[in-house]
């Protein structure tokens, strides 16, 4: 198990989001976390990724307790070993596509020319040649999610956390993003935690769990 949540509880004010959620993710596995809106699936992802600290329960990553680490250590972990892709891409509009992709490398201390070279490789790989100098705020709905995906993968993370990565896309573009995501993850052995409410997106995963009322119910079928 590379990542594990045990009996995690988390409330926002008086509203409970997770009430004893447990899930385990294997090394190299692509796990889909499904469930209705407000079921707690994004909160679970944020707890697994060390963004939120649960009120109770434990999170383990690579054999070590994650939720008890101080924020600077969790922040370093997120930067160095995790990658993130969010629903609306959340690219920095003032930066170019290449700079957006390079951002996690720059934050990790990679020199700018080297970071931009790596970003250029990702642009080529995702069929975005020629768009590198475009500000991401000017990108259309087609390339923007691919730039967001490249940014999530650029550091070669051990775990990629993707929260509705195809949420705002049409079916065909969404599939292209998933093809790229799954292809890259398999190639590098990246573990993926994929939050989605869409069955067609979950079908790209090896396995799915459903979050309902803050608890995880595992389904029987696995690949």
């Amino acid at each position: 198990m590379i990542l594990q949540a045990d009996d995690v509880e988390m409330s926002f004010g008086t509203t409970p989001a997770l009430r004893g959620a447990s899930v385990a993710v294997e090394q190299g596995e692509i796990l889909a976390v499904m469930g209705p809106s407000g079921s707690g699936k994004s909160t679970l992802l944020h707890c697994l990724a060390g963004i939120l600290v649960p009120d109770a329960g434990e999170i383990h990553f690579a054999g070590e307790r994650l939720d008890t680490l101080p924020e600077p250590a969790r922040s370093a972990l997120r930067r160095d070993r995790f990658g993130f892709v969010f629903q609306f891409g959340q690219l920095v509009p003032e930066l170019t596509a290449a700079e957006n992709i390079a951002l996690p490398l720059l934050l990790g201390g990679t020199k700018r020319p080297a970071a931009l070279r790596t970003a250029a490789e990702w642009l080529a790989r995702l069929g975005l040649d020629g768009l590198g100098r475009r500000r991401s705020g000017e990108l259309s709905g087609g390339p923007a999610p691919r730039v967001a995906l490249a940014r999530g993968l650029v550091t070669g993370p051990e775990v990629l956390f993707a929260d509705e990565p195809t949420g705002a896309l049409d079916s065909l573009t969404g599939e292209q993003v998933m093809d790229l995501l799954v292809g890259a993850a398999r190639e590098h052995g990246t573990t993926v935690v994929l939050v989605t409410h869409e069955p067609r997106i979950a079908a790209y995963a090896d396995r799915e769990v459903v979050v309902r009322d803050g608890r995880v119910s595992a389904l029987a079928a696995t690949r």
Binding site: P36, P199, R200, A203, Y204, V210, S217, L219, A221, R223
Partner: protein
């Protein structure tokens, strides 16, 4: 799949032997369910009887498959009509899913458990179809997509039904 009309459609391309029709049918439409030779020839026989194909001269040579079939104008017109008309939008599977949920609730069984099992089975099939899409050609993808969207529709229904189970149970038992 409507076998007679599909064979007619294949014949519209060019006159063919029964063997060629079977081979093309299996390649394009069989998808793991090959058409038995007996059914091919029985179907062609009926189509000939009804004037939709004519049987060409028996060609000299060995082997059983020496007849060439040619589509008639009536046959072409039939294919034309068939292709123009939309298929009855029948929710085939839903009737079974519906019956199982209602019967489970009526008998006080755990309908949620059944829906979970059904969801898992649907998602497993969707994974297989997604893999077929990723590894296959565009025709495979076309067929897989059709399956995927139908399964997804069922899943949406499963989700909604899961959310409504408590109310449904009260109603079904009253």
């Amino acid at each position: 799949m409507t076998v007679p009309l599909t064979l007619l459609g294949l014949l519209e391309r060019e006159p063919s032997h029964g063997y060629d029709l079977k081979r093309d049918y299996d390649a394009w439409f069989g998808r793991g369910k090959p058409l038995p030779f007996g059914q091919v020839y029985a179907t062609l026989g009926r189509l000939a009887r009804d004037g939709k194909v004519i049987v060409g001269e028996t060609e000299p040579g060995a082997g059983p498959d020496r007849k060439r079939y040619v589509i008639t104008e009536q046959g072409v017109s039939e294919v034309e009509t068939w292709l123009r008309e939309p298929v009855e939008p029948e929710p085939h599977l839903q009737t079974v899913l519906f019956a199982k949920v209602v019967l489970a609730l009526m008998s006080g069984r755990d309908a949620e458990r059944y829906l979970d099992a059904q969801r898992a089975a649907h998602l497993q099939r969707m994974r297989e179809l997604t893999e077929l899409k990723r590894s296959g050609n565009s025709v495979d993808a076309l067929l897989a997509d059709h399956g995927l969207f139908h399964l997804e529709a069922d899943l949406r229904w499963i989700e909604l039904t899961s959310a409504r189970l408590a109310n449904l149970a009260a109603e079904v038992k009253s």
